[in-house]
């Protein structure tokens, strides 16, 4: 039970959720709920792994993973933006489509060892006591990218003009349309961005955090956690990043908790009975379900700051909300 190790592992696994959840923040901020994150992540994981294996370049693998997730998300865009179909149903179908495609295309990848995204220390910063070994030592390049990415997206969404356009499209699309924004194009674009980030999250698993291709166990439900995380995070990328790291650390803590006989002078229940770890393993999923149910009530959604037009197809000329 070394806090440095748990936090270090939490930042690594949390980076997966960070990319996926921020991607979903973009899509939902534009008014499109995309429940296909799990499927897009699996496609990204498979495509990135496969590309790195055949070309020897993990960076090219990341690029292909991003494109794979993005292209898959366009299917959701077409159905929900163009044909104005139900976003929940389309998103769920996207999960099954992505999972099925990834499993078929990923045949034969198990047990292969492609080159991975490099890990390294940040010179200087790694030497700071506690902070250094947790945040700046022996992390994958993607973890460091995540540190910069979360604040940058926050700044983009809240402080820049394109960010304001994004929010306008998700809050009051008819007003945005009146302003001269192309609502359809912007929604397509941010659904695509969300898909790209889900693909990147998938490749973060297969090429960095837990290298390998293990069919549907590669993501093992993390896409769903990312979807729930967005509600917890109140559609804020910084909170999404924090939540991702928290869930990441929890994942590792569950295993480490089986080690010590006592905690803070008390008998450790997980040491006496490891079966309890089932409940901790369930925790992220229970919280996800709770968040989805809780976050679906209109009054609470308003208080949480959900984009007002989230889940509502925009049809030009029809009355708004």
């Amino acid at each position: 039970m070394n806090p440095i190790i748990i936090l270090h592992a939490g930042l690594a696994t949390g980076t997966i959720l960070l990319f996926a959840a921020i991607g979903e923040v973009f899509a939902e901020r534009a008014g499109i709920l995309n429940l296909g994150v799990e499927g897009m992540m699996l496609m990204g994981a498979m495509a990135g792994f496969s590309t790195s294996l055949s070309t020897g370049s993990p960076m090219l693998g990341l690029l292909v993973a991003i494109l794979a997730g993005g292209i898959l998300s366009l299917a959701h865009g077409l159905v929900t933006i163009h044909f104005q179909a139900d976003q929940v149903v389309s998103g769920l179908s996207l999960t099954f489509l992505g999972t099925g495609l990834a499993l078929v295309l990923g045949q034969g990848l198990t047990g292969q060892n492609p080159p991975l995204v490099p890990s390294f220390d940040i010179p200087g910063l790694a030497l700071i006591p506690f902070i250094g070994p947790v945040f700046f030592a022996n992390h994958s390049l993607l973890v460091y990218v995540g540190y910069l990415f979360a604040p940058l997206t926050w700044y983009y969404i809240y402080k820049t003009r394109p960010g304001m356009h994004l929010r306008a499209v998700g809050e009051k699309p008819e007003a945005a349309d009146t302003m001269g924004l192309n609502v359809y194009a912007l929604r397509y674009f941010y659904v695509f961005v969300g898909g790209c980030l889900a693909g990147l999250a998938g490749a973060t698993i297969s090429l960095s955090v837990s290298p390998g291709w293990f069919s549907e166990l590669t993501t093992s439900g993390q896409g769903w956690i990312a979807v729930g995380l967005v509600i917890f995070a109140q559609w804020d990328p910084l909170r999404a990043a924090f939540g991702g790291y928290l869930f990441g650390a929890l994942r590792r803590t569950i295993l480490d908790l089986q080690g010590p006989a006592t905690l803070f002078g008390l008998t450790n229940p997980l040491y006496i009975n490891p079966n309890f770890s089932f409940f901790l393993q369930m925790a992220p999923f229970i919280l996800t379900i709770a968040a989805l149910v809780w976050g679906s009530r209109a009054a609470i959604r308003e208080r949480l700051g959900a984009p007002a037009a989230l889940g509502v197809p925009y049809i030009r000329g029809e009355r708004g909300l």
């Binding site: 698993i205 390998g212 490891p274």
Partner: protein, 430 residues
């Protein structure tokens, strides 16, 4: 209005999410056994007209593809809990299947992979029996009850279940081997490695609190005790046979907790892959999964010869169900690097000569049938609570090796104990 619709949809979504999560792990199947084995190439001389009639179409059972039989051949099916190329338990069975295909005449083999234990397994096994397979090997502990039910329904089909404890005296057999023999040797190796490296801590990734996992963990720790009396062993329970990511995290957790060597009871090469520089992992099940230098050895299964014998006997009508448990002398298991024609991994080859000699001598007497599981579990043995499990010179009996009194076994000294050098509590069985 819209918010209300959204609310309803969200409830629906939550429900679907629960269902998906509940079904997690068993919802994917890939097309099995499409390729024809090369051995069958001479069959091309047969008249081509027979070809279309020879093969019936495969069918769908839930999300599983049920393969077809080939008329005129002896048809053997395998049910796998993981993917056929998992690099561990299931791949070892698939290597056995390929051995059967290559070495037994006029036999057709097929498999269904990633079959969830429980109700799904029963459907798949029943479909295979209905299809007309003559022998079905069900290769996971959780297939036991399903195998028993289907064996009762189809008395003409021989069903062999691996790793359980139920059987009948007709067409339902139970087959397993004393992997504790190899785990004991691996323990000697791991103890020697930890002692040589000057870090007397080891780790064991355990799957489920069942007798098999405690037996194998105890066998490993008894082996460790032979070469490193000061060594201790930490345990992580992962409650899964096949989840490479969880297994890797458990290995990382043990290594970070100070372990020098980590051994696994689950199905993937994770411990060797997770081993940091200068530390070691021991893989399980499949001889081909101990490739990287951080891997000390692998305790592996060699199912081919046993499967071939059972299939031949079944075809001759001489096979009867019942309980079969083989030791190392049956030739169906090995310790990678120490068997004929294998080269030791670097981490093993650099160990003190007297320890290697001890391992090789013990292995030789195991293969000669002079050292069995009853010698592995021979007193004096003390558990980690300070109780004497076995007095000097007394051995456990078969029921003790595979029984918990909590599960209704009539064992006397049941397997519900941890050897003295294991620093973990027993898992609760409630």
């Amino acid at each position: 209005m819209r918010a209300k619709t959204f609310s309803k949809l969200s409830w629906l979504l939550a429900l679907i999410l629960v269902l998906i999560l509940a079904a997690c792990g068993g919802n994917a199947t890939e097309e099995p056994a499409a390729e024809e084995p090369a051995v069958e190439a001479p069959a091309a001389e047969e008249p081509a007209a027979e070809e279309p009639a020879a093969e019936e179409a495969s069918t769908q059972e839930g999300s599983y593809q049920i393969p077809a039989i080939e008329e005129g051949k002896y048809n053997v099916a395998f049910v796998y809990v993981g993917p056929h190329d998992d690099g561990g338990w299931t791949q070892a069975h698939d290597v056995g299947r390929q051995y059967v295909e290559a070495n037994v005449e006029n036999v057709h083999t097929a498999y269904v992979e990633t079959v969830a234990e429980g109700a799904d397994a029963e459907q798949v096994i029943r479909s295979l029996a209905r299809k007309g397979f003559d022998v079905i090997f069900t290769t996971s502990f959780g297939y036991m009850d399903a195998s028993e039910i289907v064996a009762d329904e189809f008395p003409d089909v021989d069903i062999i279940h691996i790793s359980g404890f139920k059987s009948n005296e007709a067409n339902f057999g139970n087959l397993f081997g004393a992997m504790e023999d190899m785990k004991y040797l691996a323990g000697m190796l791991a103890g020697s490695r930890a002692k040589t490296d000057g870090n007397p801590k080891l780790g064991y990734i355990a799957t489920f609190p069942i007798p098999e996992e405690l037996r194998l963990g105890n066998a490993f720790s008894l082996g460790v005790q032979q070469t490193c009396p000061d060594c201790t062993i930490d345990v992580r329970w992962i409650f899964t046979w096949h989840d490479p990511i969880v297994e890797k995290e458990a290995a990382a957790s043990l290594f970070d907790g100070g372990a020098q060597v980590v051994m696994t009871g689950a199905d993937t090469p994770a411990p060797a892959e997770a081993a940091p520089d200068g530390k070691w992992g021991i893989t399980y099940d499949y001889s081909g999964n101990c490739k990287i230098d951080a891997c000390l050895t692998s305790m592996y299964w060699n199912w081919g010869p046993v499967y071939s014998r059972i299939i031949e006997e079944s075809r001759d009508g001489t096979w009867v169900g019942g309980w079969e448990y083989f030791d190392a002398d049956a030739g169906a298991m090995g310790l990678y690097g120490f068997m004929d024609g294998e080269t030791m991994q670097p981490g093993a080859a650099s160990l003190p000569a007297e320890d290697l000699q001890l391992i090789q001598d013990t292995l030789a007497s195991m293969l000669a049938g002079e050292f069995t599981r009853f010698d592995v579990f021979k007193g004096p043995i003390t558990d980690n609570q300070g109780n004497v499990v076995l007095e000097d010179g007394v051995s456990l009996e078969q029921l003790d090796l595979d029984g918990f009194s909590q599960f209704g076994s009539e064992c006397k000294t049941c397997m519900y104990w941890w050897n003295q050098n294991i620093t973990a509590e027993l898992p609760s069985l409630e």
